[in-house]
């Protein structure tokens, strides 16, 4: 074998703390190394050209590039060597940037470490084999999980491109958080006016199948061919018959049910249509509030329903579908703000959340768009907004900025003035985070034009005194403690990943961070991909973001999915397990442990043997570590290849 080694400077990223020329000189003495050099930017065009030229000039049969992490540029360089006529798997990377140059400044130690990592890579490369992918057909259907604005956008874009789309929404209506908003910043557009038409498009699009009030039950399979089970929850209303007339909701006697859509601002009935523009506009019964389903007595809705759509015996239904790709767009939830006892912990009715306030502002909300104190229905004059409730707070494990609270608080302060011209708003803030088109101007307008008083400081206590709420906080710019007598306190509650996002991540086999946000493939370069091929991310489930970013990411995810599903055939990753049949004793341990059921027992001349189903194997190598005689090996990560790396460091 003739190995070429290229030590990348990455400008000064590597060369700053690694003597790249010395590493190259060392590498030249390694077994089978025929050519070794250092190079300014291996990944740039001149760098790649130099690699190709060297392969040709020195008749190289394998290449080691020592540069950044293989998670970044392994695909790049594989393509490079392929262009030079080598098999793409005759390539190894040594990570001397993330794992060396960026984590220490000791040049001697770094240089030595880099050289050893190159030695390991070269030792492994000597055992690499040419691998060739296999092709398999793709199911041209996309699953979108979550019908908020991001999911809606992804579904519409994909459907417009001609893909069949299945949109699954947990709630009885799509629309997500955006549907609950009164206006949007910074234009103060009516939220439902701009979202509504998109929701209708979803309902009417011939390529979109909408499963509302449904959840993803399980996912199996792999990119191009995922087998999905969808649980359609019992709504106790036959949606084929339901016309959405709303008669049932008028007559339902269980009038003290929690109103989920309106965030509990005012009660609702047990059978509901969440809001007038709901899509699908169908009634559903919330089991825990229904008198018939809980107590066995009532049945009013069934009596009044003109189409006989009510079915109290309805059960959950499982729908099975095969899809080629999946977009996760499950959004966010508000954090549990009731843990903040200093803000009343939910004990004071006139301390409300921003989303509750949004419902109060909304003309279609429970107060008809009139701002009223929940305690006595009186119109408030002094409204205090407290920002960063649950954001940037390490003490509750939420050290991140929720990103959109500064902006919606400003918007709500403006709307407050619009609704109640003689009102005064106070905003306690930590910092104003308003990067975005027209955003900072907006936060200035609210202060200058709408005279909202912005107080830079945290609130330490909210307590009732008489019929007022005393808001005590610090004004850190003035260096004094301030107390504001408020009629209404609005908490800008921070957001976190949707409550069941971790469960979904496990079903989709994607990663999530410690806060439950799904992990993108690369924070910069793969913002909508995940590390699981065929699964894409859109909206706040990947990280908190506002509406335009969510929409953009929805489109981006759709574009990625369209790109993937535009192909008729996909190449399977050849880094999969293979069985050496003459060494296999047919004990079946690999079959027992394989998480993908990718190994089957076959009969070879009367002997049981294991056989890998190539399109199903995902290449985890669990079988390899399980097989006692090493008869099943993972291509590109065989025992000998890993041993070669170990032995490059310590041998026996």
């Amino acid at each position: 074998m003739r190995i070429g080694v290229f030590i990348c400077h990455c400008g000064s990223n590597i060369a700053g703390t690694v003597d790249c020329a010395a590493v190259a000189a060392k590498a030249a003495t390694y077994p089978d190394v025929a050519y070794a050099t250092d190079i300014m930017y291996a990944c740039a065009e001149p760098g790649q050209d130099a690699i190709i030229a060297a392969i040709k000039e020195h008749q190289l049969s394998g290449v080691v590039v020592a540069s950044c992490t293989p998670r970044m540029h392994e695909p790049t360089f594989r393509k490079t060597v392929e262009r030079a006529g080598l098999n793409r798997y005759m390539f190894e990377m040594a990570n001397i940037r993330e794992h060396v140059s960026w984590i220490g400044k000791d040049i001697e130690a770094n240089t030595n470490k880099a050289a050893e990592l190159v030695r390991m890579a070269a030792a492994k490369l000597r055992l690499n084999k040419e691998l060739k992918p296999k092709s398999f057909p793709v199911t041209k259907r996309l699953l979108v999980v979550g019908g908020g604005v991001a999911g809606i956008q992804a579904a519409l874009d994909a459907a417009d491109a001609g893909l069949e789309v299945i949109l699954v929404e947990k709630q009885p209506t799509i629309g997500g958080k955006m549907a609950k908003l009164d206006k949007t910043f910074p234009t103060v557009d009516c939220s439902s006016c701009i979202l509504g038409p998109r929701m209708v498009d979803v309902a009417q699009h011939p390529n979109i199948t909408l499963y509302a009030y449904s959840e993803v039950e399980s996912v199996s399979g792999y990119v191009g061919n995922f087998d999905v089970k969808i649980r359609k929850k019992a709504s106790y209303v036959d949606w084929v018959k339901c016309t959405g007339c709303g008669l049932c909701t008028e007559k339902c006697p269980a009038r003290k049910s929690y109103d989920r859509f309106n965030e509990g601002v005012g009660p609702t009935t047990a059978i509901i249509i969440p809001f007038p523009q709901a899509i699908p506009k169908k009634a559903s019964i919330e089991r825990e509030h229904c008198r018939l389903l809980t107590g066995g007595k009532c049945g009013v809705c069934a009596k009044v329903c003109p189409t006989g759509a009510i079915n109290y015996a309805m059960e959950d239904e499982i729908i099975e579908a095969r899809v080629g790709g999946i977009v996760a767009a499950t959004g966010y939830d508000l954090i549990d703000w009731k843990i903040y006892e200093e803000y009343g912990g939910g004990r004071y009715p006139d301390v409300v959340t921003s989303l509750q306030y949004e419902r109060m502002l909304s003309a279609s909300g429970p107060t008809g768009g009139h701002i009223k104190r929940p305690s006595d229905g009186v119109e408030p004059k002094d409204v205090v907004f407290i920002q960063c409730v649950g954001s940037r707070d390490p003490s509750i494990g939420r050290p991140y900025c929720s990103g959109f609270c500064c902006m919606y608080t400003a918007k709500q302060a403006i709307l407050t003035k619009d609704h109640i011209p003689d009102s005064q708003s106070y905003v306690f803030y930590m910092d104003i985070r308003s990067p975005g088109k027209g955003y900072d101007e907006f936060t200035r307008r609210v202060q200058e034009e709408y005279k909202a008083r912005y107080i830079r400081g945290r609130v330490s206590l909210v307590y009732p005194k008489g019929n007022k709420l005393i808001v005590r906080g610090a004004d850190t710019l003035m260096g004094v403690q301030v107390e504001v007598e408020a009629d209404l306190v609005v908490l800008a509650v921070g957001a976190e990943a949707a409550s069941e996002s971790a469960k979904l991540a496990e079903k989709l086999r994607i990663s999530y961070d410690s806060y439950g946000f799904f992990m993108e493939g690369h924070p910069k370069l793969k913002p909508v991909e995940t590390n699981t091929a065929g699964v894409f991310l859109a909206g706040a489930c990947q990280g908190l973001k506002d509406i335009p970013s969510s929409v953009a990411q929805g489109s981006a995810a759709a574009a990625k999915a369209i790109g993937l599903l535009s192909r008729d055939m996909l190449d399977s990753d050849p880094q999969i397990a293979f069985v050496s049949a003459n060494r296999c004793v047919g004990c079946g341990k690999c079959i027992e442990v394989c998480p993908f059921k990718a190994i089957q027992e076959i009969d070879l001349r009367g002997q049981p043997k294991a056989e890998v189903i190539e399109t199903v194997c995902q290449g985890c190598g669990l079988c390899n570590a399980t097989c006692p005689q090493g008869a099943i090996q993972l291509s590109h990560f065989t025992d000998n290849q890993i041993l070669a790396e170990v032995e490059a460091l310590c041998r026996f």
């Binding site: 050496s580 003459n582 060494r583 296999c584 004793v585 004990c587 079946g588 341990k589 027992e592 442990v593 399980t626 006692p628 005689q629 090493g630 008869a631 090996q633 065989t638 025992d639 000998n640 041993l643 026996f652």
Partner: protein, 321 residues
């Protein structure tokens, strides 16, 4: 004696339907029996059970696959069979097990120790069993030894003297010798410091001749012909005569036996140069028992612990960083 005859009758009966019954027959010298493959009445006459029935007949099962085979089994042999069945390495319906109550088997090395200064075990010309004793004829006259003093170590911690899974059981079932295996055999070893343990293995394994009798005597080492010990692909071991390779082979054996070893002790008995290789497997077995509550070869319906998992592992306390 009558049990011996009853077993012979059972074997003869089994031979009516089954081509071969594996048991024990007279060996090359008085202290040793040898595995006996019985195919006809004449073979059955050579059958012997009891104190000399040391070898574990389960060893031969994987090579009998596809042919109905009968075994005469001790309790410990039955556990090996059980584990093979649990792992689907042999089919239970291809087996016919004849069980009998085992009261322990001989350890020739212990006899050697008792004869120290008198003669070598190879000079004993006759062995007679008399209740709980054996009487040996040696060049220097008769020597009487209590069976319990020369029985194998495993017999002193026997929890399953009766082959519970036998298709036919001859004789009265015996009470277990102990209710709980306290792993007392590991206690002495564990008194050693880490340095002493390392030195211990270096010394013991320096004798290893790499004959792999330990492996070939193990009823659960079913890879046998394809063992990684002598493969180049994967290439785990060199053929060099060093302690590291020799120890590493034992580690391969022990890790492959983790959660599977029934403690029959055949590996250690088979070792011609007396390396205490069972210790490694026992150390794993104790952990497996503590961590997963699993004992190999008892319940054929439970998946061996390393081939399964639980989402929460109450017994695994991970390190906090």
């Amino acid at each position: 004696m009558s049990i011996q005859d009853d077993i012979k009758a059972a074997i003869a009966k089994a031979l009516q339907d089954i081509p071969c019954v594996i048991g024990w027959g007279a060996g090359p010298e008085p202290l040793r029996a040898t595995p006996l493959f019985m195919r006809n009445a004449a073979d059955v006459e050579n059958f012997t059970a009891g104190f000399l029935a040391v070898n574990n007949p389960a060893l031969y099962l994987p090579s009998c696959k596809g042919v109905k085979t009968a075994l005469v089994v001790k309790g410990c042999d039955a556990r090996s069979v059980g584990q093979l069945v649990a792992e689907n390495l042999v089919k239970r319906d291809e087996l016919y097990l004849i069980g009998y109550p085992c009261s322990g088997v001989i350890d020739v090395d212990k006899v050697a120790a008792r004869l120290e200064g008198k003669c070598e075990p190879g000079e004993v010309t006759r062995l007679r069993e008399e209740n709980e004793d054996v009487i040996l004829d040696t060049p220097g006259g008769e020597v009487r030894l209590a069976k319990k003093d020369i029985a194998a170590d495993k017999c002193a911690r026997c929890r399953y003297p009766n082959a519970e899974s036998a298709d036919v059981f001859i004789g009265e079932k015996r009470a277990p010798v102990v209710d709980q295996d306290e792993y007392a055999d590991l206690a002495d070893f564990e008194k050693l410091s880490l340095e002493e343990r390392k030195a211990f293995w270096e010394k013991e394994l320096s004798r290893c001749i790499r004959c792999y009798a330990c492996r070939n005597a193990c009823p659960l080492c079913v890879c046998r012909d394809h063992c990684v010990a002598s493969s180049r692909e994967p290439h785990w071991l060199t053929q060099a005569d060093g302690v590291r390779d020799k120890l590493f082979f034992q580690l391969i054996h022990a890790t492959h036996l983790a959660g599977r070893c029934t403690g029959c002790g055949e590996c250690e008995r088979a070792c011609p140069v007396g390396i205490p290789v069972l210790t490694l497997k026992r150390a794993f077995s104790r952990q497996v028992e503590d961590m997963f509550g699993y004992m190999a070869g008892i319940d054929v319906n439970t998946t061996p612990p390393l081939l399964t998992f639980r989402l929460e592992e109450p017994e695994i306390k991970e390190r906090e960083w």
